[in-house]
Symmetry: C2
Subunit: 334 residues, 2 copies
C-alpha cells in the first residue's frame, strides 16, 4: 500500500481518486457540498493509501491545535487531578499532553516554553519556585494558562486551588471536638506555597484556640531525621501533644511509619487522601481534596480563557472534605 518512508498526502489521494486536492480536503472535513459518488471515490482512495491527515499542517493552517498541555510536578507520582483533567478535555474534543517539571524551575520553564512553541491552545501548570517572569511575554502574546494547586505568585493568572485553610481548620476543630487540647503539626518546606498556607492556617488555629507552644509546629524539607526529631519534640515533656496533623500525604506516610512500632495513643489527621489511608490500623482520618472538581474546574477555566482571552482573571478555591476513619477520633491518652 503506502510505500515506506513517506506518508501519503492529500495530493496523493487526489491523484488516485482523480479529483482536485480541494475536494479531498472537503471529504476529509465532511463538507456537504461534495457529490455522493465523489465522496465514495475519495474515501476509497484514502483507504487504499492509508492516508492520515498531517495535523502539523492542519494546525498551522487553522491557527489552533486542539491540544492542551499539562505541566505537572511529577508524571511518575500519583496525581488524581490529572485523570479528571484528561476526562474533561476528551469530552470537549481536546487532547491533553502531559510532561513533568520535576520540581525544577529550569525544567518547568523548558517544558512550558516547548509547549508554547508548539502552539498548544492552553496550558495547565502546577507552578513551582518563585520566579515566573518567563511567563510574562508568553501571556502577553496570548498564552492561555491556568495554575493548578498553587497560584503563580506575582502574576495575575487564573488558578484553581484547594481550600487549604479550611482543611486545616476542619482537622483542628475535629481533633478539638474529640477532646484534644495539645495538637502538633508536621509540615513540608514552607517555601512551597501549599505548605506555607497550611502552616499559616495551623498557627492561626492555635492562636484562636488560645494555645501556643513552639514545639507544636514543625515544618521543613521532608527528611526522615527531621521528622523523627519533630515527633520526639512534640510528643515529649509534660505538655506533650495528644494529636498530630500532617501537612501532606508524604508526611502522613513518614509519620505513620514512625508510629508503626509505638503504642502511643496519638490521634492523627492527614492532609491529602491516599491508598495508604485504609491500610493502617486504625484507618487514617484525612482531609481530602476534591480531585475531580479541581480537574473539571481547571479545564472549564482554561477553555473559557481560550475562547475569550479577555475574560477577567479568576481564582477559584475548591472545598476539601474530612474523611473520618478512626485515627482522628482517638481520644487523648491522658
Amino acid at each position: 500500500m503506502a510505500r515506506r518512508g513517506r506518508r501519503p498526502t492529500m495530493v496523493d489521494v487526489a491523484r488516485r481518486a482523480g479529483v482536485a486536492l480541494r475536494t479531498v480536503s472537503r471529504v476529509v472535513n465532511d463538507d456537504v457540498t461534495v457529490g455522493a459518488e465523489l465522496v465514495e471515490r475519495v474515501r476509497a482512495a484514502i483507504a487504499d493509501l492509508d492516508y492520515r491527515p498531517d495535523e502539523r499542517a492542519r494546525h498551522l493552517r487553522l491557527g489552533v491545535t486542539g491540544t492542551l498541555g499539562a505541566a505537572v510536578r511529577q508524571l511518575s507520582h500519583v496525581n488524581p487531578v490529572l485523570r479528571a483533567v484528561e476526562r474533561a478535555a476528551r469530552a470537549a474534543g481536546l487532547m491533553v499532553l502531559a510532561a513533568s517539571t520535576e520540581d525544577d524551575e529550569k525544567i518547568e520553564r523548558h517544558v512550558v516554553e516547548s509547549m508554547c512553541r508548539r502552539r498548544f491552545d492552553g496550558i495547565l501548570l502546577e507552578p513551582i519556585g518563585a520566579d515566573h517572569g518567563y511567563l510574562v511575554p508568553e501571556l502577553a502574546a496570548g498564552l492561555s494558562l491556568v495554575a493548578v494547586d498553587r497560584p503563580v505568585l506575582g502574576l495575575e493568572v487564573d488558578c484553581v486551588l484547594s481550600d487549604n485553610m479550611a482543611g486545616i481548620e476542619t482537622a483542628f476543630a475535629h481533633l478539638v471536638a474529640h477532646g484534644h487540647q495539645r495538637i502538633a503539626y508536621i509540615g513540608d518546606d514552607e517555601r512551597i506555597y501549599t505548605a506555607q498556607e497550611r502552616a499559616t492556617a495551623f498557627r492561626a488555629c492555635v492562636r484562636a484556640h488560645g494555645g501556643a507552644s513552639a514545639h507544636m509546629i514543625h515544618t521543613g524539607p521532608i527528611m526522615p531525621e527531621r521528622i523523627q526529631a519533630a515527633l520526639e519534640s512534640a510528643l515529649s515533656g509534660p505538655d506533650a501533644a495528644t494529636a498530630i496533623i500532617t501537612g501532606n500525604a508524604t508526611l502522613s506516610v513518614e509519620v505513620v511509619r514512625r508510629f508503626r512500632d509505638r503504642t502511643d495513643d496519638v490521634a492523627i489527621v492527614g492532609f491529602d487522601d491516599s491508598e495508604l489511608a485504609t491500610l493502617l490500623r486504625p484507618d487514617l482520618t484525612v482531609v481530602a481534596q476534591d480531585d475531580a472538581a479541581i480537574g473539571d474546574t481547571a479545564i472549564t477555566m482554561l477553555r473559557t480563557r481560550i475562547a475569550d482571552p479577555s475574560t477577567p482573571v479568576r481564582k477559584v478555591t475548591v472545598p476539601v472534605t474530612l474523611r473520618a476513619r478512626g485515627s482522628g477520633e482517638t481520644p487523648p491518652k491522658s
Copy 2:
C-alpha cells in the same frame, strides 16, 4: 510589544531588523554564515518582539518533530518507568508528551492515532487488550513504536519487558529456602499479559517443586470479595498455605489489608515494589522491577528504530530483583 492575538513571525522580525527572512532563520538556527553585526540586529529584533518560532511550521518543513509520545495506562497512577523515560529523552534533546489510555482499547487507539497524526517521531506504548490491528497501517507507514511492560500480541514490534518468570521463580525459591512447602499465589486477571505470564510461571514452579493444589492459585479481576475468598481458601484446611505470593502491587495492598488484623504468621512476597512496602510490619519483601533500566532501554530502542527503521525487531527482558525486607523471611508457622 507584541500585539495581542497574533504572535510575531519571522517576517515581522526580518522587517524590524531590516534583513531578509532567510537571514532570521539562519540566526535562529545558529548558522555561522551570518555576520556578527547582523546577528546582533536580528537578536535585538527577536527580543523586542518576543518572537518565538512556531514549531508547527518547523516540524512540517523539517519532517521530524523531536517529540516522542508515551501512551500509558493511567497518568494518574504511579509509574516510575515514566520518570526514567523522560530523563533519557531529555538527555537526548527530545520531548516526551504523555497521555493515558485508561486501560480502554478505544482510548488507546484514539491516543495512538492522535500521536500519529501529529507525526510524533516515535511512540512508547503500554499495550492493552488483544486487538492491535489498527497499528498495522501505521507501522507500515513508518511509525516507530516500542511496547513497554507487555508485548503487542500478534505483531512484530520492539518491546521491553520485565522478567516476570524469573521474578516468580525467585520469589518461590526464596520462600522454599525459608522452609515453606505450601505456597499460594494471588494474581490478577489472566487476560492481562503480565498476570498471565506470572501465573504460568507460578504453576511451573509448583509443578517443578512436586506440589500441586488447586486451592493454591487464584487469579482473576481485582475485587475485594474475590481476594477475601481466595485467602480463605488458601489459608484453610490441613494443607493450608504458609506463604503467599501476590501478583502485583495492587494485590499486595489488598492482601496486606486482609492481614492487618490477623496474627497468622504467613510469609508474603509481593510482585512490584511500592511506597507501601516499608510501611508494614514486618516490611514487605518484594520482587522489584528495574524501572530505570526499563525506561532507559525503551528510549534507546525507540531512538534506534527512529534512526533506522529497518533495525531488526528486538524483545528485551530486564532482570528483576528480590528485596528481602522481612515479610518473606517469616518461617512457616507449623
